[in-house]
Structure formats: C-alpha cells, structure tokens
Amino acid sequence: MIVGFTVNDEPVSVRVSHPGSLLDVLRDDLGLLGSKSACQQGECGSCSVILDGELVCSCLVMAADMEGSTVTSIEGVGAEGALHPVQEALHSAGAIQCGFCTPGFVVASVDLFERDPHPSPTEIREALAGNICRCTGYGAILRALEGLASGVDG
C-alpha cells in the first residue's frame, strides 16, 4: 500500500509492503538517519519524533497507520549555524558523549519547551523519563535544560 504523510514540512509517499514501523520508514525508505534504533520496543526514546503534535517513539508506530499524519523528526529541528535553543543549551553544557541518544533527547526537549518555555526541574525530569542515556548520567543534560528554562542560557 502507498502511504502519504508529511515529514519535516515535506510531503512524502512511501510504499509500505511490510509490517514495519515509522522508524523503519524514516531510516530505510526516506534516508532520515538521525532517529536511532536502540531498543525496538519504546523503552529508550532514541527514535523520538513528534507525530501530529504528540511525542512518540517512532519504533512503536505502524508505518501503515501514517496516512495523512504530520511528523517532525530530528532532521526538522535546527541546522548547522542555526541550532534550536535546546541544541545550543545541550552543546554549551557539554551534554553529549556518544551521541546515540542525543537526537531523541533533542526531540523530547523541543517538545517540552514548545509546550512550556519555563518548565520546572521536576517537569524536565518527568518529560525526559522516556529517554535513556547510558553515557552522561543525565547531569549535563539537566543542567543545560534547567538553564534554558530559567533563561540563564536562553
């Protein structure tokens, strides 16, 4: 079946012939490799995207259900020389190590800050509880986002 939807403001049309996920379509069919596959069961948030305004794990979304939907993936957030404030904050706080979880954290944080530009530390933690980072211990990520929320780095 052919499924049509919008990714990062671009209309796309994909032939879906397998019981694959949105993550498979993003990576394998559309060549959008920023979303990462790490657990394949919605536990780690490495494949986070914003689907019709909701933060989701793209590995849990059936590709065949995408008709008419709108997706923002990491490729739709910021650009070289024009980082999103969330990316700027993470960068200057040294919140990146291996970087495999980073796109997912960026998408989840962008989702949070677009809903509330000044989340409390507790709200930041709750919002990121679905994203696993194995390298940083989360400290630098929290410092970055708490700084952004309080306007220190924003």
Partner: protein, 740 residues
C-alpha cells in the same frame, strides 16, 4: 614538556585545563553524525546470525537448504566455511568463530546468512535447520571451580600468614551479571576490495586487535584487512572483543558484495561479553585502633563459556582485593571459572568493581564492630605514596591521594534532611506507591582503587601522528572515540604542545598508523595523549629549529617579536611527526602474586545518600558525592561527564541492573526487562577533582573513566544498609531483599 613549562608559556585557546566543546557535538545534536548503523554501500547485502537456543549441546546436523532456497538469499555459512583460524579471543583464541560440534552458551553463533534485505536475512536464518543434542549445562561457578573448569587461578601470599588481630569480621558477598548496554548495538559493514581483501567498518574499542583477529580467521595477509574507525554509540567494555567482525568479513569475501549487519537489542545482550558475576568470601582482622592486621579473600569470578578477558579481570579483582588500604598480611585466592553461562569480559571497572563491593562491605562491618565512623577506619588504613600495594607488594611511587579523597569527601556538604520536594523524587516515584512515613534515609561511603593502562607485563603502547596542514594541525590516531571525548582531549594536548589553536583529530584506519591500543582500562588519555604530546613536542622543536624561531602559533614561527615564517610558508614543507608512547614496564607477578604488575593507580571516594521505602523495598538514590584522583584535570567538564555517567552505572549495579540467568539462558534480554537508570533514577552528583599530579600521563593526568564506577556501587549498598539495618550482601539489591 612539563606542566610547569607549559604554565610559564601561554596555553592557546582550547588547550589543556579548559573545557572546549566537542567537535562532534553539533553533528550529534543535529542527527547528522554517522554511526556504524547508518553506513551504506552500493550493492550492500544484509546479514543475520543463527544462534543456539541451548546453553550446552552437541550439534548433530545443520541443514542450510531451506534457507538457501529462499529468494534473495546469497549465502549461508557455517564453521566449515571459516577459511583460517577457527577460533578467536582477546587473550586466548578459544572461542569458535562459528560453533562446530558443540555449543557452550545460549546464543552462541552457529551459522550466518546474507540476503538482499534485513527481513529476508532474518527469515532465512530462522529456516536454517540445526539439530541439537542438548546436554546439561554447568552453570554453578563453585561447582565449576570444584571440577577444575578454570581459566586462571591467582594465589597471593604476602607477609606473616599467621598474623592475627583481636577484631575479626567475615562475610560472603555476591555480584550478579551487569550488561554494558551501550545505546548503539553491535553493527558493522564489510566491503570486499575486489582483490581478496576487505575493509571493515564496525563498532570497536580497538581497531588493530579486531584487524588481527579478522586476519587470522580469514587466513589473509595483514595488509589485506583494513579496520576503519566509525561512529560508535557507547562501549563500556562491550566492544573490546570482536562480535560480528569476522562474520561480516567472511560473508563479504564469500559473496563479493558489501555486507552489513546490525544486532537487534535482544541479540546484543547475547552478542557481547558482560561484567563477571562474582562470589566473594572475606575475613578481615584488625587491631582495636582499626589498623588492618590480616585480610583473607577467596574470589570466584564466572567467566562463562570462553576466556575473553577473564584472566585480566581476575588479576584486577585479586590484586585490588584489599582495596586502597595498608595491610601487612594478605592471602588472596582468585579463580576465573569456565561455565556454560554467557561469556564474561570487559566492563568499566574490570574486576576492581567486584572486589570493591567485597572489601568495602567488610570495612563497614569492621567499622561497626570497632564502633568507629566508617570514613575514620578508611583514613586510618589509607594506602598512600611510599606504601606497598598490600597484595603484590609493589611500591607506590606515583602520587596516590587516598587520604585527600577521603578528607575532601568528608568536607563536602550533606544534603538537607527532610522530605523531598516532589513525589516523583520519592522511592516509589511517579507510581505514587510510597507513603512518606515508610521512608528511611541512609548514608554510605566507599573508596576504590584501580590500575590504569594494561598490566602484568603487557607491552602497552599507543601511536599518534601530528601533522601540520594548511589550516592548522591534525592529530592522526587509530584510537577509538566511543563517546568518552578523546577527540577533544587529544586536540587540547596538541594545541598546548604546539602552541597552535587550530587542531583537529582525524581517526584513521589500521593501514595508516600503528595501534593506539584499546579504548579501555581508562588508558587512552594517558596513552594516546602521551603519544600526541610527544609527537607534537618533537614536531614543534623541529619546526622552530628549522626556521630559527622560539615560538609557534597560528600565524607561524616567531623569533621574539618577529614573524620569521608565516604559516603558509611553514606548511610548504612536509611537517609530520609520529610518536609511540609506552607506559613504565610491568611484570607478571610470581607464584605468590608478588611483583610490579601495574603502571599507575587511581583512587576515588563516594558518599551515597538514599531514601528507602522500607515497606515496599524501593530505593531512591538522592545524591552521590565524590572526590576523585585525576592527576591533572585536562578537561574538567569532560571529566565531570565521565564521573556522572560512571556513577550512574554504579547505581544501576547497586539497585537495578541484573541479567537474570537461568540454566545458562538470559531471561531478560530487552530494555523492558533489563532495567537501566533513567533521569528519574539519577542522583544529584557533586564531584571534586583531586589534582595531585605526578603521573606519567600527559601533564600528570590520570585516566578518569573507571574510578567513578568502582566504589559507587559499594557506597549505595552501604547507604541502603544504613537506612534499613539489613546486611544486604548481594547486588543488585532487590525490593524483596529489603522488604521481605
């Protein structure tokens, strides 16, 4: 070049002691950084692995015909197709590339499939018909010990073996199996070169040792295999052994096509080695004033089915079995056993974690028996420069600030007592299960020690090359960047030594440079950093000599106030210098375990504060503070990242991370069932960097990656004991250990 020399001259922007941003930070933030998982090649096939469903079995037959009959399948290979050495292994090549006659662990690779796309490959793998005769697996490590199924035994005897003290404490302790769980699973792409050779891009911690093992098992000449650096999503030891490397190269040469493979998470759990589970027995004897008189230990580490690095992990566990403490009478018997459990090998802390949980639990028991504050007992016994390691007898010549880390930790402020600010920070978290009335606070301490770099006589070296180019300088290295920040720190070192601020690190393949050694053992900053410093210093001296200058910077060569050679004139010539750095030599200790086994040591102390719901057995680690011996802080922000990340892995081992093994089978090989700490589990961390200098690392720096993961587990366990009054001799500590 010494630190004092450097400090007398200007350190350029982005030099040592600063925390410049990672050069790979922006690409990672934009999702543009290329990981192995993201690689593609024209005409690429996809591979899948057929794995044993039994922990121990005899292979009766393998029928590839149903898989080969599937459309889109290009190859099915078995042990018979391994062209060269049938086995591989980091220290001892005892592990079959593909199982031949027998299966020794659950998930052992039996056959390989290459097909047009990943789904076809997985489906074809499921069609390979393997007939097994299951056999009873050996899964009890003490039974294996009794049957002499052993990779290595270490016997240490030092001092008067009849020594006795008036205060005696004895205990048995257990650590279960922890997984490194890097976010990126094993992945690789092998591309045949059309002339019988192959280029490999794969997750790795040590390109040259991967390459050597591929060469041996493919029966090729070394120059026919090039192992290339590629983007790696974390490592923590899981990538020191080869996993899919030989498999991919076999398939690529067999099919003549590029072949890619990416392990599924559940496959990754069986596709790499894990932290050794351990059973420990300890007896400590002390004077009434707390001074240790005698320490005895028996350490049993489960190496699983194949050797991997069990020998070296056991060495660490044994040589650090007493911890960073003085003791004149020591008897340690360590054994690494062979079972049919999943193979164990490298994980951050590498043996030192296991014994630390034992000796620090003992120190708390001893402190309680003596009625002494736990840190006071540790201070009384602190091992310092000029002492001898209580196990091997090695004289400690490099600054070892054990007392300083203890004193610094003690001086750090304690968090406020009283209820946390939000229910999500209670032990039951957002589940709202915890009644505040059941919450008890506890505080625990632990101090740990570990060697830095490879030990026991291993010829440990790293090569780096520094080259001047049009826009500055580059550092070429085969050292793997796996997230730890080597790409930043090598540039900082080169900038400082050259005096030039524009420096990039270029990772190159095994044909372009000699080995940098392993990205493990907390060693790359010291080893590849040492090579970079030496190469850059020599290069600067040569350039200055050639142009008759006394200073080099981004503008060129200066003599006093005069620019004697602008940069573009300098780089008209070829300016490159390679250096191979070796740390001080070590030896394999004698039959009594005596000898200079180690090149360097680092210590760290941790204080954990926990809230425990004693009714439900739930734990919230509120805070972990630490003071760590770093020698010299080359990049304070990066060190803080290592400390926070390492502590959280230690917290994971203390309260949640356990691969549950039953009859050799991993019962929880998913992120749903193998629990990893999330941001809601992360404690606040305050870290104090103790800079005693004096190491042979660049500018006196020590490796910093492992110490955070060594005593943090023991500190959290101690804090939970303090909160609950329970002995808790096993980690991870489960709710039922606290509440039942």
């Amino acid at each position: 070049m010494t630190l004092d020399t450097i400090r007398r001259t200007a350190i350029p922007e982005g030099g040592i002691g600063q925390s410049p941003s990672r050069p790979d930070g922006v690409p990672k933030l934009l999702g543009e950084f290329e990981f192995v998982q993201d690689l593609k090649a024209d005409g690429m096939l996809w591979a899948a692995t057929v794995r044993s469903p039994h922990a121990r079995a005899r292979i009766i037959s393998i029928d590839l015909a149903p898989a080969l009959a599937m459309g889109g399948v290009h190859a099915c290979l078995t042990a018979d197709d391994v062209p060269g050495r049938a086995t591989f292994g980091l220290e001892h090549p005892d592990q079959p590339v593909l199982a031949g006659d027998e299966i020794n662990y659950w998930g052992e690779p039996v056959a390989l499939v290459a097909a047009e796309d990943p789904r076809t490959a997985v489906r074809a793998a499921s069609l390979v018909e393997v007939t097994y005769q299951p056999l009873p697996p050996v899964t009890d490590p003490e039974e294996a010990d009794a049957s002499d199924l052993v990779f290595r035994r270490i016997r240490i005897r030092r001092g008067d073996q009849a020594a006795q003290g008036p205060v005696v404490v004895e205990g048995r302790y257990e650590l279960r199996m922890q997984d490194q769980a890097p976010l990126g699973t094993e992945a690789g792409l092998a591309i045949p070169d059309g002339q019988g050779g192959v280029d490999l891009y794969a997750t790795s911690q040590w390109l040259h040792v991967d390459q050597e093992q591929v060469v041996a098992s493919l029966g090729l000449r070394p120059e026919q295999v090039r192992s290339h650096p590629a983007g790696v999503g974390g490592a923590f030891g899981a990538r020191e052994d080869v996993s899919l490397h030989i498999h991919l190269c076999m398939l690529a040469l067999h099919t003549g096509r590029p072949v890619k493979m990416v392990y599924h998470r559940s496959e990754s759990f069986t596709g790499h080695v894990h932290r050794h589970p351990a059973r420990l027995w300890y007896r400590h004897q002390a004077e009434e004033d707390g001074r240790l008189v005698r320490v005895e230990a028996k350490l049993v580490l489960d190496g699983g089915a194949y050797a991997s690095t069990t020998s070296a992990v056991l060495a660490n566990a044994s040589y650090f079995a007493v911890g960073p403490y003085r003791c004149g009478s020591v008897a340690v018997d360590g054994v690494g056993v062979r079972t049919n459990n999943p193979p164990s090998g490298a994980m951050r802390g590498f043996g030192a974690v296991q014994s630390c949980f034992g000796y620090e639990s003992q120190m708390d028991r001893l402190a309680a028996a003596l009625g002494m504050p736990p840190l006071e007992l540790r201070r009384v016994n602190a091992l310092v420069t000029g002492d001898r390691l209580p196990t091997t007898g090695q004289l400690i010549e490099i600054p070892l600030p054990t007392r300083e880390v203890i004193d610094s930790l003690e001086a750090m402020p304690m968090p406020d007592e009283g209820l946390v600010s939000h229910h999500s920070l209670l032990p039951g978290g957002s589940g709202l299960t915890t009644e505040p009335v059941h919450v008890r606070r506890g505080v625990g301490y632990a101090v740990g020690i570990k060697n830095l770099g490879f030990s026991e006589g291993f010829d440990d070296y790293a090569q780096a090359r520094v080259r001047l180019v049009d826009d500055g300088a580059i550092v070429e290295t085969a050292a793997m960047e796996v997230g730890q920040g080597l790409v930043t720190v090598l540039a900082q070192i080169a900038r400082t030594a050259l005096g030039v601020s524009s420096v990039r690190v270029i990772h190159v393949d095994t044909s372009k440079i000699d080995s940098a050694g392993s990205t493990s053992a907390s060693r790359q900053t010291q080893m590849s950093g040492g090579a970079t410093l030496e190469a850059a210093t020599r290069l600067r001296t040569r350039v200055l000599g050639h142009f008759g200058g006394d200073a080099l910077d981004d503008e060129g060569v200066w003599n006093g106030e005069e620019l004697v050679a602008p940069w573009q004139q300098v780089v008209e010539g070829e300016w490159a210098e390679a250096a191979t750095f070796r740390h001080p030599p070590t030896i394999r200790p004698d039959e009594e375990g005596q000898g200079v086994a180690h090149a360097d040591f680092a210590v760290a102390a941790h204080r954990a504060v926990v809230d425990v719901d004693v009714e439900l057995g739930l734990v919230k680690v509120v805070r972990v503070d630490t003071a760590q011996d770093v020698g010299f802080a080359l990049n304070p922000e990066s060190i803080r990242g290592q400390i926070e990340g390492g502590i959280l892995q230690g917290v994971g081992l203390a309260i949640m991370e356990e691969l549950v093994i039953e009859e050799g089978v991993i019962l929880n090989p998913t992120f749903t069932d193998y629990l990893l700490p999330t941001v809601l589990d992360a404690p606040e961390v305050e870290a104090l960097l103790v800079e005693a200098g004096g190491s042979w690392g660049p500018f006196g720096a020590k490796g910093v990656g492992e110490p955070p993961a060594i005593s943090s587990t023991a500190a959290v366990a101690a804090a939970i004991r303090d909160a609950t009054g329970r002995q808790l001799d096993r980690v991870p500590i489960r709710p039922q250990d606290i509440a039942l």
